[in-house]
Symmetry: C2
Subunit: 218 residues, 2 copies
Amino acid sequence: MALSAKKEGFVHLLDSAAMITSNNRKGLGPGRPVATTHGEIEQAAFRLFAERGFDGTTMAAVAQAVGVGRRTLFRYYESKNDIPWGQFDRTLDNFRTILDEMPEELPLHQAVHRAVLRFNEFPPDAQPPHRERMTLILRTPTLQAHSVLRYGDWRAVIAEYVARRQGLRPDDVMPQMVGHVSLALALTAYERWLEQPAASLQDLLDECMRQLRDYLTD
Amino acid sequence: MALSAKKEGFVHLLDSAAMITSNNRKGLGPGRPVATTHGEIEQAAFRLFAERGFDGTTMAAVAQAVGVGRRTLFRYYESKNDIPWGQFDRTLDNFRTILDEMPEELPLHQAVHRAVLRFNEFPPDAQPPHRERMTLILRTPTLQAHSVLRYGDWRAVIAEYVARRQGLRPDDVMPQMVGHVSLALALTAYERWLEQPAASLQDLLDECMRQLRDYLTD
DNA sequence: TAGAGTAATGGCACTCAGCGCCAAAAAGGA
DNA sequence: TCCTTTTTGGCGCTGAGTGCCATTACTCTA
């Protein structure tokens, strides 16, 4: 019951709309009400990560900052590594929708590429915090490692789409390959994006795709 | 001093030749002689991993199996996750050599592709244990995650080669992209290889490359 | 052959992530 | 007020990883 952080105020970047629906039983129905929210935890955690670094921040410290028990923290996030990713699974639902909305007439590679572009569009004011989040994820070795699991989910979404359009199974070579390569391009673009605050993610993604074509065609 | 495992007998698959030179001061020079070798540790560890699973095997158990102190184990391998990778850095030296030996006349993408093929060639008798090792690495979530760091080193080798041939810096978009995409293809091929014991790694790598071309050309 | 020097060993104690267990807290409803 | 429901959070454990340091087991030299 220590001094708790302010409620809300930090909208989950990867998840702006979905945030509202999450944690919706703040008092409805029977049972003890929740003591915190994902947003609140992330707000406190990101502040500490910025101050002491990711590895230098203990879960106990985050718990104290949020004003909640350490044990409770582990009910909101499976692990410390999961905090920076927020509720990525919701974001993936969005990605699925984007892919499904791509016109069937569009050649497969264009459909996938455009969907990836679309998926990485953010309103201007959401960019700085998103960059902060991605810097943490892409530059912290511990998180780099853990992120593979998230990337795997992301790839699976693409593989499923490709498989459906091609009449294949998601675990066939072609869908898997497209998932892997799409991720490769996205990661290349993101790493560049962190170093060049000026460039847009979309332009960088386009450039990576162009470079890949150049590379492959003699 | 418990019952220690037999010396040698398990040649590091990713590292057959280099193995001999490692741990060469088994009594030379002053100071206490080493109590074990990387090979010995891996042999014991892989046996336990097979029996109880990776997560079900504690470092204490490995230490006991080797007949060495737990503390000593951490001097041979930075972490439990590093054991399955063996001395991958030596293997990377080999990869560098392979790339450097590629004829300059060869188009860049062919040079890289052939080098990757070459890098993944193993004598027939080395295949079963190599498959076992890769199964462990690619199918154990904990290891999947940790492997990114190794992949990063692998990508760096490619990026350096591409940068040199193109007169660019290794951290430019093009070299980075080639590194990422090459890894993407390799991982796709490896995953397939684990499921299809019959197919050769080379054929699968070729097929992945072919699929990528098909995918990109309308 | 008795040190002297050297380098690896391994025990101890510590931090921290993560998890199972369970009593207590805090709501709503009868 | 009591019962039901659900979350909380404290306690205690396992296991990875690390710093510290005395001990061990060699080689070399006088």
